[in-house]
């Protein structure tokens, strides 16, 4: 190893880099230091993670070196078919944009590369031509990547890959799509006979080193680098304040009362993105804006995940072309695509997390160094605390972590069947590969054995499954023989599970989008509802399609789509507690806190404003019965479990039935009988003794595990969602997950999928230790029980705008039914 050789290499590298620089110059740009840093690291064969915000030129930081590498190692004129670059993106919408940018560079450098696009939208003809003549780079979603793995010739197709690049990795990390990508990468690593490079691109999150570890895998992550763009984003948080806080409505779809203040902001801007937290809120805000400011019609549009793709594309194109003044949207516009005309961002309702808010703010004022202004519109007055808390968190750079998932048995089962479909697999080879992933690094041999049993015999305890048709073992190779089972599997690949969605179409034809079955099942023909900004009359359901016609009425319901609500992050709830404590100590320097001072004063008068060392509990009576309110400020999901635990423990004192409600700030127990809360507190209501059992019990009772099981069962292939695009469901194969859960619980308790549903509640929803940290915190707190005449300002939002859960009961079902029946009869007498 003479030093001369190294020098030659270095020289070559700098010459190669110069090609990239020249291309930048030809466009009148200059490469940022972080871009060049990426080019160098890549060309040295390194893997790593790039931390850079949207609009910073992150695509070029990694796409340019892919090309430079080829120019270094090959004759430019000698382009052979074969995938070299796999660019994984979370959104189909993003794929198009990236694809365009990538192709542009190739064309301008006169490199005859084809860039392929492979998403759920890719046509069969296109897929065929990609198969015949593989493109040099493929832009793909995690789902489509797994569909590739289900094709017989995939090893040949993927063996020439030089690099896998995961765009927007922060969005996929911590989801099952992330796990799917980890698995696919583990496979590609083996297929390639050279050292595979793996790169991620991530926005700022609290756990960048861990994000790198998950993506690169156990064997590679230590040598991987993290490159930061160091492009400082300055964000200014401006809360939209009500004039009179007393008259400001408490809750509901409010904030629309602030429209007179919001419209001037829109008018003063070039283009505004107005983010809401749910698709129904998006529908509502769109309506209200059009009603309040008719001059906006034609300049306003709406964008959310249930609206038809063509309409969404149109909105995106119109945004680029500066044809729109304002777009009302959900997180569907959170990602990537860079809309240069956008100069103002408005957030309606608490964004529930610092990172998300920060990224949304970044959608405006794209030029580095420019200040991004984001307006925060509270939906109830107390939410203004979040405005103050967000500003503080951003100042102190306190960003949430995205926790990666571990041991997802459902994704593993799906993956193994995928490999069984495409020619089969040898278990030990695959086990070795997946042990290299972060997700399955700690997988036990029993768990692995269970997964193999599950796909072959249906599970150990169910050995009697003679007719069970899935995967067979032949000479040590696991594969699928049954053609129908294979087809069914190919159609079910993916990890995004929604409520069964029905297409919405006009009677006269014309597709509008999808609504969830659960919403439409509550409508009768002739009922009206709002969708995609239109008032529609429900005519009938035919062949899995909702037929509608236009209505000119101004009233109607708004569909509710499931899964819309995110819990307050633990980071943000910390800061909220700090803000409340500061106000309890007389610190009202934030304009938000000053605004809600009358409310906090009223709260203090009727009850109190808790500091960080106090857990406030309030007791009140109303016509509904006896209420007890708790305010741990720990976010929706933790409250859901805590409510269950508290209800369970109180019910050990006396047989009692509760209904439970919760929001991000607290939870409520409601019963038709007196709640012995004083006695329960004396008996140490939050004791850590036996807490594990009580938490498990609560998760079961509150149906959290059952809700998770729906996703788990679908991913593992227990629920077949039907053939996409065809109106046929598999004959006689419908069973709700509720029924399946019941059956498994009764007849197959050892089933790891049931266990996984429970684990997911514990780890995903409750963020591992967050629940126990909350309980520990409560135990260190002073508990104050206040008797209040009526619900306090803190309690009111829980009563009126909240998530309600099935009741928890220690009474016999028989006694409960007796009671409900008496009330039913009483009601009948009264009416």
């Amino acid at each position: 190893m003479g030093s001369g050789l190294n020098e030659t290499l270095l020289l070559v590298q700098s010459e190669i880099i110069q090609i990239g620089k020249d291309w930048f110059t030809s466009r009148g740009w200059k490469a940022f230091p972080f871009q060049e840093e990426c080019w160098n690291a890549y060309l040295e064969g390194k893997s790593g993670l790039l931390n850079a915000p949207t609009g910073s030129g992150k695509t070029y930081a990694l796409w340019i070196p892919c090309i430079l590498e080829f120019l270094r190692d090959h004759d430019k004129a000698n382009v052979t078919p074969g995938v070299r670059v796999l660019w994984v993106t979370p959104l189909r919408a993003l794929a198009k944009d990236i694809h365009r940018a990538m192709q542009e560079v190739c064309d301008e450098l006169d490199l005859r590369w084809t860039i392929g696009l492979r998403t759920g939208d890719t046509t069969a003809t296109e897929r065929q031509s990609q198969k015949k003549k593989a493109p040099q780079a493929l832009v793909i979603t995690p789902e489509s990547l797994h569909v590739l793995l289900s094709q017989t010739d995939y090893p040949n197709y993927l063996k020439g890959i030089q690099v896998v690049i995961a765009d927007e990795w922060h969005e996929i990390l911590g989801t099952k799509r992330g796990v799917a990508l980890e698995l696919a990468i583990s496979r590609i690593k083996t297929l390639t006979d050279h050292q595979l490079k793996i790169w991620g691109i991530s926005a700022t999150i609290g756990n960048l080193p861990q994000a790198k570890r998950v993506l690169l895998g156990e064997g590679m992550h230590k040598s991987g680098v993290i490159i930061q763009s160091n492009i400082e984003k300055k964000v200014e948080v401006v809360s939209v304040l009500p004039d009179e806080v007393e008259k400001f409505p408490w809750s509901g779809h409010l904030g629309t009362a602030l429209l007179p203040k919001i419209v001037p902001i829109i008018n003063a801007s070039k283009t505004t993105l107005l983010f809401t937290n749910t698709r129904s809120q998006t529908e509502l805000w769109y309506q209200k804006l059009v009603q309040f400011a008719p001059e906006l019609s034609g300049l306003i549009a709406m964008h959310h995940g249930s609206i038809e793709q063509d309409i969404r594309n149109w909105v995106e194109d119109a945004l680029h072309a500066e044809k729109l003044k304002v777009v009302v949207c959900t997180s569907s516009l959170d990602l990537g695509v860079d809309f240069r005309p956008v100069d103002t961002v408005i957030q309606v309702g608490g964004p529930k997390g610092v990172s998300r808010f920060f990224q949304r703010a970044g959608r405006s004022g794209h030029r580095p160094g420019e200040v991004s202004k984001i307006y925060f519109v509270p939906t109830h007055s107390l939410e203004l605390v979040e405005g103050a808390a967000l500003r503080k968190a951003i100042e102190e750079k306190r960003f949430e972590s995205r926790k990666p998932l571990e041991k997802c048995m459902d994704v593993l089962v799906q993956y193994l069947v995928t490999l069984a479909v495409s020619g089969g697999f040898r278990p030990l080879d695959i086990l070795e590969e997946i042990k290299q992933t972060y997700c399955y690094r700690l997988l036990h041999s029993e768990e692995w054995g269970w997964a193999l049993d599950f796909i072959t015999t249906g599970g150990k305890t169910l050995g009697e499954y003679d007719e069970y048709a899935k995967v067979y073992q032949e000479d040590g190779i696991y594969k699928i023989i049954n053609k129908r089972a294979a087809t069914r599997h190919k159609l079910s690949i993916g990890t995004i599970v929604g409520d069964p969605a029905l297409k919405v179409r006009f009677m006269t034809g014309g597709y509008i989008g999808t609504v969830e079955e659960s919403f439409i099942s509550r409508l009768n023909p002739g009922d009206r509802f709002w969708f995609a900004g239109k008032n529609l009359e429900f005519v009938m359901i035919k062949d899995m399609t909702v037929l509608v016609k236009k209505s000119n009425r101004k009233s109607g319901r708004t569909p509710v789509w499931g899964g819309g609500r995110l819990p307050l992050s633990s980071m943000l709830s910390d800061v909220i507690r700090e803000k409340l404590e500061a106000s309890a100590n007389g610190d009202f320097h934030d304009v938000e806190m000053k605004t809600i001072k009358p409310i906090l004063d009223l709260q203090a008068k009727w009850s109190q404003v808790p500091d960080r060392h106090t857990l406030l509990i309030e007791k009140a009576k109303s016509k509904f019965g006896n209420h007890v309110f708790f305010y741990p400020f720990e976010g929706l999901y933790v409250h859901e479990v805590l409510a269950g635990v508290v209800a369970l423990r109180v019910s050990r004192i006396t047989p009692i039935t509760f209904s439970m409600s919760m929001n991000d700030y607290g939870f409520e127990l409601l019963s038709d009988q007196e709640i012995p809360i004083e006695e329960a507190l004396e008996l140490d209501l939050f004791s850590e003794e036996g807490i594990m059992e009580d938490v498990q019990h609560s998760i079961n009772q509150t149906e959290m595990a059952k809700r998770k099981f729906r996703d788990v069962a679908t991913i593992a292939g227990l629920i077949f969602q039907g053939y996409p695009g065809k109106n046929i469901r598999a004959r006689h194969l419908q069973a709700s997950t509720g029924i399946l859960y019941k059956v498994f619980e009764t007849y197959d308790k050892e089933n790891l999928l049931i266990q996984q549903a429970m684990d997911e509640v514990m780890t995903m929803q409750l963020e591992h230790s967050r629940l126990f940290e909350a309980i520990r915190r409560i135990n260190a707190q002073k508990i104050v029980l206040m008797d209040t005449k009526s619900p306090t300002p803190f309690a009111f939002p829980i009563v009126v705008d909240t998530i309600r859960r099935q009741n928890l009961s220690s009474e016999q079902l028989i006694d409960r039914v007796t009671k409900m029946q008496m009330q039913l009869e009483k009601l009948a007498e009264n009416s």
């Binding site: 305890t461 007719e467 048709a469 089972a485 006689h732 059956v743 079902l813 039914v817």
Partner: protein, 218 residues
């Protein structure tokens, strides 16, 4: 409250004596007929064949329950109001044939439901009688409800009802549902769901909760 809360409920319909049982059957005393609907046997097997592992024990449980009610009422005849077997033939049908052989001297009648798609020969090899509907005395038995001059008994929809209380407590439970001219019978099988019905004024509902029946007048 106590009189409308028990595991059995006597009812006089069109002059006939019926016993409703919380195990989801009706016993017609005058003809010693056991009436039940929607067993959906073989559903677990059908799912297994498609690669979805559901234990057959689910149906063994159904048959055990059925044996219990048979030995309790000692019927001369069992009338299945359809959806006896969930889909194509699988080995769970053989289990059912075994079970039928053990019910010596009991006539078996199946009113065909939309799920009953086995080949004719399979039914014929047993002593199960097959028909599309049955009119007897004041009653007209069908799988799906029909307009008829007689009093109609049907299954098919797996009727259930949502109960609510003042303090927002609630529960969805299977039920028997009686209107002036018709009745709905709950699904007997364990591997079935419940469809929430909207009760009409003047109807009578018997809710089934943990082995107990509750009478309710909406």
């Amino acid at each position: 409250m106590s009189e409308n809360r028990s595991d059995q409920q006597k009812l006089l319909i069109e002059g006939q004596n019926l016993v409703l049982d919380a195990r989801k059957v009706i016993f017609w005393q005058e003809t010693r007929t056991l009436i039940l609907s929607d067993l959906h046997l073989g559903k677990a097997g059908h799912f297994r064949k498609s690669g979805i592992p559901i234990s057959k024990r689910v149906h063994e449980g159904d048959l055990l329950r059925l044996s219990d009610v048979v030995s309790h009422f000692q019927p001369l005849r069992i009338l299945f109001l359809g959806d006896l077997f969930h889909s194509d033939h699988n080995e769970e049908w053989d289990d059912f044939e075994e079970w039928m052989k053990r019910q010596q001297g009991v006539e078996m009648v199946l009113i065909k439901g939309n799920h009953d798609i086995l080949e004719e020969g399979i039914y014929q090899s047993t002593n199960l009688k097959i028909c599309d509907e049955l009119k007897e005395g004041p009653f007209h038995f069908t799988h799906e409800s029909v307009d008829t001059e007689l009093y109609n008994f049907s299954g098919h929809i797996h009727p259930g009802i949502r109960l609510k209380g003042k303090a927002r407590q609630g529960a969805t439970l299977p039920c028997f549902y009686f209107e002036e001219n018709s009745a709905l019978v709950p699904a007997f099988g364990d591997f079935t769901g419940v469809y929430k019905i909207k009760p009409a004024k003047g109807s009578k509902i018997f809710v089934i909760a943990e082995g107990v029946l509750f009478g309710i007048n909406p």
